[in-house]
């Protein structure tokens, strides 16, 4: 008989993150490609990065999960502050506040995570050759889950 287990990374972290982002940004497609694929002019790529054990108790564990959110934007024409930075940094600030407002995520009183946070943002990440037509921003999301 197979052991009983919970799909914590999927059901607590990734699915919850998708629910929150879809609820806020209804025109932002989310993809999960391991290798980069062209998906239009504006999209988000969600990549699970890691999990680490924070603390172990007799019956439970507290684990920290990390997910990379990569925003891709095509901005044709000349590079300007308004086209290339103002909208993008405002977008990132909106995601930061969205996650901050949901730092403890408990939809319908069902616990998913706590300490949800955007721990870092990189506006100039290293790009693969195929990504160079896009403006790319890496957002690192972390949360803690009581498993």
């Amino acid at each position: 008989m197979a052991i009983t287990f919970s799909q914590v990374f999927k059901s607590n972290v990734l699915d919850s993150l998708i629910t929150i982002l879809n609820g806020e940004f209804n025109k932002l497609p989310i993809f999960h490609d391991v290798n980069f694929k062209t998906r239009g002019s504006f999209f988000l790529r969600m990549i699970p990065i890691s999990e680490s054990l924070e603390e172990t108790t007799v019956q439970d564990q507290i684990r920290n999960y990390t997910v990379l959110l990569k925003i891709y934007r095509k901005t044709p024409g000349a590079v300007t502050k308004r086209n290339n930075y103002t909208q993008l940094v405002n977008y990132v600030d909106r995601i930061k506040r969205l996650i901050s407002n949901n730092s403890t995520f408990k939809p319908s009183d069902v616990y998913k995570w706590h300490e949800g946070r955007i721990s870092s943002v990189n506006y100039q990440p290293d790009l693969e050759e195929d990504e160079e037509g896009y403006q790319v921003t890496d957002i690192t999301f972390e949360c803690t889950v009581f498993v």
Partner: protein
């Protein structure tokens, strides 16, 4: 839609652009077009979470500010370096003078009416409408070089950092 503060844009980018513009009569650009004898280029780099608070975050923001200066003739200390160093040193002092940002410090008010600059260890609330700004602004490093894409320009690149405490109203 979530209500949010446009921190990077309105607090960091606009402030650094403002103080540079007030100090120097040199154009500020965000693109990679090379034109004119000299210009500043501002490129946002990133931000890192320093501390989470019950009603906000403290984050460090980083920006690369590159001073471009056209190079004429043979490179000499007088023609190629002296003015570049002078501009970058002036920028460094300008940021040092504005270590606390363009506006005032943020003060907090406790429920019993006492003022604090920081809210460490206390259950504090913001003192009414506060104008969020940076603190601990600094030039982390400076690099003098020749531009890799257009070697007619010499550069002085400043790694600017500042800390912003964002209070979620």
């Amino acid at each position: 839609m979530t209500t949010f503060n446009k921190v990077y844009n309105q607090t960091v980018l606009e402030d650094i652009e403002f103080i540079i513009d007030e100090e120097f009569n040199i154009p500020i650009r965000y693109d990679n077009n090379f034109s004119g004898n000299s210009f500043f280029q501002i490129i946002p780099q990133g931000e890192d979470l320093i501390e989470r608070r019950s009603n906000g975050d403290i984050r460090e923001y980083s920006i690369l500010i590159t001073y471009f200066e056209k190079s004429y003739g043979n490179y000499t200390k007088k023609d190629g370096l002296d003015n570049r160093v002078r501009v970058v040193e002036r920028l460094k002092k300008l940021i040092r003078n504005n270590i606390d940002g363009v506006d005032d410090d943020i003060f907090f008010l406790t429920v019993n009416g006492k003022f604090f600059i920081t809210s460490e260890g206390q259950a504090l609330v913001p003192a009414g409408e506060t104008d969020l700004d940076w603190h601990n602004a600094r030039v982390e490093s400076i690099e003098y070089s020749e531009d890799a894409d257009n070697n007619r320009y010499l550069t002085g690149t400043v790694d600017f950092r500042c800390v912003v405490e964002e209070v979620h109203a």
